[in-house]
């Protein structure tokens, strides 16, 4: 499909110009590729998470439907899409005006730098474009073989569990896993043999000893030792529910493969969900700097200000990650430039002195580069949100008032705001749910536990989701949680949804 075209002529010159400013600013990015496309194509790309090719599924069609309608009725417009790949691809809307294109390019270099440097992206697959296309091919083949409806129905069920991820998995690599397993085995072996405390055996001997170990473990004890080991394994707690299902659910190979595919894609997008505020803040910070300091022509100022203000729109209903992100980045730079941090500053009680505090350290730039490398949204907010900042940004929390049947401003208190923000960001805004037992009640039932932090789950959704989980697990499934201040276990056995008496 030739729906997107590489940029040429003026735009290419513009790219080279902006790229120069980005390098000058110290941004460190993957090679950047810009392509232009029409609004329909950008809607398609957006519906597919930025990728030109995905597996066939109606949800992409649904998102496309909504984006297209939104565009047609002038409700929203997507200026650009940028994907975390190496080289980094970004799509520009052909209909953007000149100033838009400038802003967007500068913004994209910010994202690109963030993708490359932020720790949470360290293990993302930068060749995801190919991976996604391969996933599409695989699933299309399964559909041919096992029936479109059949496969689609299964995908629907898996998507239902797509948000049950363990963020620590982002740092799991096969090597790490193997090393850890080997370490555990070695320790076990050492304990059993009374310990080779100084390990000077050759590698060949070690591996021989280990295989001996294993075979003796399974040979010596008659009967279903293997199953016991499996049963032991199944008691492992994990938040990586999809991974757990691949290993232990009684499913066919193609189904396990599909779970694997969807799981891989979900983990690919996870870092972006963990760093929304930072990522947008960082990109906005840089488009603002590059534009105002270098790229803007005097005649374009008003246009730029208008567009920039549109992006920074503050809403009473939800916080705008672009706005909070950029302001917090600027705040950090300002504070570190003036040395407004550390013991001395924090313990100072003279407000006047604090306000005019300036140690002329000039560490701001260095600090924000460091922040973009090591933090995610939670640690970012936890560490850098200050009472002064909340007040300046007019942040507040709101809640539902059942008496007036409306949402009302609840508090402008720093602690409350921080608490609310953090709880919204905890576990990327999803309930913390982990598998705790694959042999619950000794009946091969699956038990999930929800860690309750003050907000109940939506019971209707629990019902529907458990049904989907049951279709994969095939034995009864359970979810332990707190509901209306009571400890409950929701239970679905294939026929009815009920709460278990404990």
């Amino acid at each position: 499909m030739n729906r997107t075209k590489p940029i040429t002529g003026e735009l290419l010159n513009l790219k080279n110009e902006i790229e120069g400013y980005a390098i000058e600013a110290g941004l460190d990015f993957f090679p950047q590729v810009f392509e232009v496309c029409d609004y329909d194509t950008i809607n398609i790309l957006a519906a597919q998470g930025g990728f030109p090719s995905r597996y066939p599924h109606w949800k992409f069609g649904m998102d496309y439907d909504q984006l297209s309608k939104g565009y047609t009725y002038g409700l929203q417009k997507i200026y650009e899409m940028v994907i975390n790949t190496d080289p980094c691809y970004a799509y520009l809307l052909a209909a953007n005006n000149w100033v838009d294109q400038k802003i967007v390019m500068a913004h994209v270099y910010g994202h690109n730098d963030f993708f490359k440097n932020n720790a949470w992206f360290a293990n993302t697959n930068r060749k995801m474009m190919d991976v996604m296309a391969n996933h599409g091919t695989k699933i299309r083949r399964y559909m041919e073989k096992y029936g479109h409806d059949n496969v689609e129905t299964f995908i629907d069920k898996v998507l239902s569990l797509e948000n049950l991820l363990d963020i620590n998995e982002l740092f799991e690599t096969p090597e790490l896993k193997r090393e850890r397993r080997e370490l555990a085995e070695r320790q076990m072996a050492e304990e059993a043999k009374g310990g080779y405390l100084i390990d000077d055996r050759s590698a060949a001997l070690k591996s021989f000893m280990r295989s001996k170990e294993r075979s003796s473990r399974t040979d010596n004890v008659e009967g279903n030792e293997n199953e016991d080991v499996l049963a032991e394994d199944m008691k492992l707690r994990t938040k990586d529910v999809l991974g757990y299902l691949i290993n232990y659910a009684p499913i066919e190979e193609w189904q396990a493969d599909i779970i694997g595919i969807l799981r891989e894609e979900a983990y690919y997008f996870l870092p972006q969900r963990l760093t929304k505020i930072m990522n947008e803040g960082w990109a906005s910070y840089w488009h603002s700097r590059i534009m105002t300091e270098r790229a803007l022509d005097a005649s374009e100022i008003i246009e730029f200000a208008d567009k920039h203000a549109g992006v920074m729109y503050m809403s009473k209903k939800q916080i705008n990650p672009y706005k909070i992100g950029i302001e917090l980045m600027r705040d950090i730079e300002y504070r570190w430039n003036r040395g407004m941090f550390g013991k001395e500053y924090n313990e100072c009680t003279d407000m006047e002195e604090k306000l005019h505090w300036d140690k002329k350290l000039g560490l701001g730039r260095q600090k924000i580069f460091e922040v973009r490398k090591t933090h995610n949204d939670i640690s970012f907010i936890d560490e850098f949100l200050t009472p002064e900042f909340c007040e300046r940004q007019q942040l507040f929390t709101y809640k539902y008032n059942p008496r007036t049947n409306r949402f009302e401003i609840d508090s402008k208190d720093f602690a409350a705001i921080k608490q609310k923000l953090l709880s919204q960001l905890t576990n990327f805004g999803q309930p913390i749910i982990e598998v705790t037992d694959g042999n619950f009640r000794n009946r091969k039932e699956l038990l999930l536990e929800h860690t309750h932090y003050g907000v109940d789950l939506d019971a209707q959704y629990v019902d529907a989701t458990l049904r989907n989980l049951h279709a994969i697990w095939k034995r009864p499934v359970n979810l332990a949680t707190k509901y209306e201040d009571k400890e409950v276990v929701f239970h679905f056995d294939g026929k009815e949804f009920k709460t278990l008496d404990s």
Binding site: T41, I44, A46, A47, Q48, G49, G50, W58, K59, F60, G61, M62, D63, Y64, D65, Q66, Q76, I78, M81, V82, G136, D156, S160, L161, E162, N163, F269, Q272, R273, N279, A283, S315, K316, K317, Q318, I319, N320, P321, Q394, L395, F396, T397, K399, Y400, P402, T404, F407, E408, I409, S411, K412, I433, V455, D456, L457, D458, Y461, T465, R467, N468
Partner: protein, 372 residues
């Protein structure tokens, strides 16, 4: 080749429309779900397909905002769970979106027709109703620029230049001036169409409760919808009756609460008058519908009704439809009388019993299923 997402999109539309189809019964019995928008666009508020996930209950959660205000001030509007579309993070928005699927009336009627396997109506009589249609087939010397006919304008200019001998074949530039301009112009054509009229008669005597009227209202909405898809112009007249009958407007037809005895013949008489006055049976397709709970005042009146049907209404109408709504008070006698006289299967008469809201669709199918 089209992008593969078009297939996903088509699939989605199919599922959504499948929803309309599967749940059509529900929509029909809750006629209020269908919201007219503009003249012929309807939106059906319909949830987008929501993949269930473990998620937090909505309202206890509250949220965060930015802006002026003091504790206790309302936060305008509802919380929007879907952030603005950002970069590379589509597919992240969760929450229950309401999706308006816009269906034109035609589309809705088509779905209804498919669902109920309704045959197209074969109009009787010749096309007699005149209507005018504008078609741009003519050329004029005045008009808006958007309708300017470039080729004709150019030709005109060329002709003029040749006539004035200002055309130079060596330098063939043709410059149109004001009076060379030609514009597409409309020709008004008369087209003939089938004309149809629906006459709804409803019993509003004391025994017809709100629920019964609601059934009649919903059913007539769908009947209108179908007939409108079959005839370009359709007239609808409404008659209500208890012991006497009167013609009313649509609003009154659905809202009135009358009481008293029932003389069905009064309605049939009025129906006859209306037809005689306004609708020549040779030119019009006439559809009288009568809804009642089947309670007539007396056997004599029933006899008058049957005479009216035989001698006037049957001969002039395409088909006469009688729908009997079940009511706690009604005896349902009139239905029996009709069956006794004409049998269940009669060319000119369609009978239907409507038990409750769920019976509406079946009833529509009975009325319209014959393609008359």
């Amino acid at each position: 080749m089209d992008h593969p997402i078009k297939r996903d999109h088509a699939r989605f539309r199919k599922i959504v429309k499948g929803k309309v189809r599967e749940n059509l019964r529900k929509y029909v019995s809750e006629g209020s779900q269908i919201v007219p928008k503009g003249t012929d666009k309807f939106t059906i508020p319909m949830p987008s397909i929501d993949i269930p996930r473990f998620r937090f209950g909505d309202k206890s959660q509250g949220g965060m905002g930015q802006g002026q205000g003091e504790p206790g001030d309302p936060v305008d509007g509802q919380q929007d769970p879907n952030g603005q579309p950002g970069q590379g993070e589509a597919g992240e928005g969760e929450g229950n979106k309401e999706l308006d699927v816009e269906l034109s009336l035609d589309e809705l009627a088509r779905i209804l027709g498919e669902e109920l396997a309704l045959p197209n109506i074969e109009p009787k009589g010749k096309k007699s109703l005149q209507s005018t249609v504008d078609r741009y087939t003519n050329i004029g010397t005045t008009g808006p620029d958007s309708l300017r006919h470039l080729r004709r304008t150019y030709k005109q200019a060329l002709k003029r230049q040749i006539a004035m001998d200002t055309y130079d074949p060596q330098n063939p530039s043709v410059v149109p001036i004001r009076r060379d301009f030609r514009y597409r112009a409309a020709d008004t054509k008369v087209e003939m169409q089938n004309a149809a009229v629906v006459i709804y008669m409803m019993d509003v005597s004391g025994s017809m409760g709100d629920e019964q009227k609601e059934i009649v209202r919903t059913e007539s909405f769908w009947i209108n919808l179908w007939l409108k898809s079959q005839y370009k112009d359709i007239e609808v007249r409404y008659i209500i009756h208890d012991a006497t009958a009167k013609e009313v407007d649509e609003n009154t037809f659905f809202r009135t609460r009358e009481s008293g005895g029932t003389l069905i013949s009064s309605a049939y008489n009025l129906c006859k008058e209306i037809i005689e006055k306004d609708y020549n049976p040779n030119e019009w397709n006439i559809y009288p519908f009568h809804f009642s709970d089947g309670d007539n005042w007396s056997a004599e009146d029933t006899k008058i009704c049957l005479d009216l049907l035989d001698n006037f209404i049957f001969p002039v109408s395409n088909v006469f439809c009688y729908g009997q709504v079940e009511s706690r008070y009604g005896s349902g006698q009139f239905y029996k009388d009709l069956v006794a006289k004409y049998g269940e299967d009669n060319e000119k008469l369609i009978l239907s019993k409507i038990k409750n809201k769920d019976g509406i669709l079946d009833s529509i199918k009975e009325f319209l299923g014959k393609g008359k």
